[in-house]
Symmetry: C2
C-alpha cells in the first residue's frame, strides 16, 4: 500500500539531479547533496534507483525527453530548409534560456568514453541526425540545397554549429569564449541573423573554387 508517495516530488528530485550533475559532473555531485537540495533523504534515492549511475541515467532520460518533444514539435510543420533553420535557432535559444541545466547535462555526457560513449551517442544523436538527414534530403529535392556536398558531412557541420550555439548559451566556458569572440554577449536576434546568413551561403552556394586534388603532402 502507498503511504507517502511524492507525485511531483519525483520530478523535483530529477530536476535537482539534472541541475547538480550538470553543474558538477557525474563524480563531483554527491548523492547526499542532491538529496539535501531536493529535500529528501539519501535513502529514498536508493529506493527508486539502484545506484548513482542508474539515477544519473534517469536524469539524462528525463532531460532528453524535453529536448525530444521540442524537436518533434518543430518538425511537425512542413517548411523550407532556411525557415526550419530559423525556427531551430530560435527554439534552441529559447530552450537554452529556459533550461540551461539540461544543455549543461548534455554537455557533460559528451565527455564519456568507451562503449558508454558510443551507446549514449546513438541514443541521443540518433534523433537529430535522422531529422537533419531527412531535412537535407528534402532540401536537395526542392532545390533549396546545393548538390555538390556530401549529405552526411553537411548535416554534421550543420549540427556542429547548432550544438556549439547551445553550449555557448549555457556552459560557462563556452559563454566566456563567445564573449571573447564577440566582445560581449551578442543579442539573440544578431546571432540568429548572422548564423542564418552563414548557413544560407552554405546551403545555396555552389561554384567550386576549391580544387579537388592537391593530394596532401605539399600545400601550395
Amino acid at each position: 500500500m502507498l503511504k507517502k508517495l511524492s507525485t511531483e516530488k519525483l520530478e523535483e528530485i530529477l530536476e535537482t539531479g539534472i541541475e547538480l550533475f550538470a553543474h558538477n559532473g557525474l563524480h563531483a555531485a554527491s548523492m547526499a547533496s542532491i538529496a539535501r537540495q531536493a529535500g529528501v533523504s539519501v535513502g529514498v534515492l536508493y529506493k527508486y534507483y539502484a545506484n548513482k549511475e542508474d539515477f544519473f541515467m534517469a536524469c539524462l532520460r528525463h532531460s532528453l525527453s524535453s529536448l525530444e518533444s521540442l524537436l518533434q514539435e518543430l518538425t511537425s510543420r512542413e517548411d523550407k530548409l532556411l525557415n526550419y533553420s530559423r525556427r531551430l535557432i530560435r527554439a534552441l535559444q529559447d530552450f537554452s534560456a529556459l533550461h540551461p541545466s539540461h544543455i549543461r547535462l548534455y554537455h557533460q555526457i559528451t565527455s564519456s568514453s568507451g562503449e558508454t560513449a558510443r551507446q549514449l551517442a546513438e541514443e541521443i544523436e540518433g534523433l537529430s541526425s535522422r531529422l537533419y538527414t531527412r531535412l537535407i534530403a528534402q532540401g536537395r529535392e526542392t532545390g533549396a540545397l546545393r548538390r555538390d556536398m556530401d549529405p552526411g558531412l553537411f548535416a554534421f557541420f550543420f549540427d556542429n554549429l547548432l550544438m556549439m550555439l547551445q553550449f555557448s548559451y549555457c556552459c560557462d566556458y563556452y559563454k566566456a569564449r563567445m564573449e571573447l569572440y564577440c566582445g560581449g554577449m551578442p543579442e539573440d536576434s544578431a546571432v540568429e541573423e548572422q548564423l542564418l546568413r552563414f548557413l544560407e551561403s552554405a546551403f545555396t552556394f555552389e561554384r567550386s573554387l576549391v580544387p579537388h586534388g592537391d593530394p596532401r603532402g605539399e600545400n601550395d
Copy 2:
C-alpha cells in the same frame, strides 16, 4: 643539491597526467594512478606540485604549449584566407592523430564553471580568437571575405566548426556521433574538402536572402 632529478621523467609525468586527466576527468583520475602509470611515487608529485589542481594546471599548460606552437608555425606564413583554412584543417587533423589526449584534455576543461571557466577561456581562447580576428580583418581588406557579416560572430562560427572537428577526431562521444552522421569514419581528405566548400561559401557568398526584420514573436 640535486640528486636524482629526472630530466625527461618530468615530461613523462606530465604526459601521463594529460592522458589520465583527458580520459577520466579531473576528479576521476587519481594522483595514485597517475604516479603508478608514470612509474614514480605519489610523494614526488607533491614535491613538484602543491596539490592536484596545481598539477592539473601544469598538465594543461604543457598541453597548450604544443597547440600554441602549432598555431604559431601556421601563421608565420602569409597566405590567403582559404589557404589558411586548408592548412589549419590539415594541421588539426595531424595533431589530432598524433596527440588525441591533448585535445581530450582541452575538451575536459570545457566543462569547468564559474570564474575558473572565464579565466581558462581567456587564457586558452585568447590566442585563437585574436588570430582568427586578424585573419578575417585581412580577408576583408583583400576582398577574400564578404563584408555583410559581423567579424566577431563570423570568427566564432569559424572556430566552432574547427573545434568540433578536433573533438570529433579525439573524443569517443563525438567520434561516435560523427560516424552516425557520416555512416562510418570519413577520410581525412573528404572532411577537408567538404569543410572547405562549406567555409568557402560562407566566405564569399553575399546576396542576402535572409530578411533582416521579422522581429521575433511570430515566425512565418
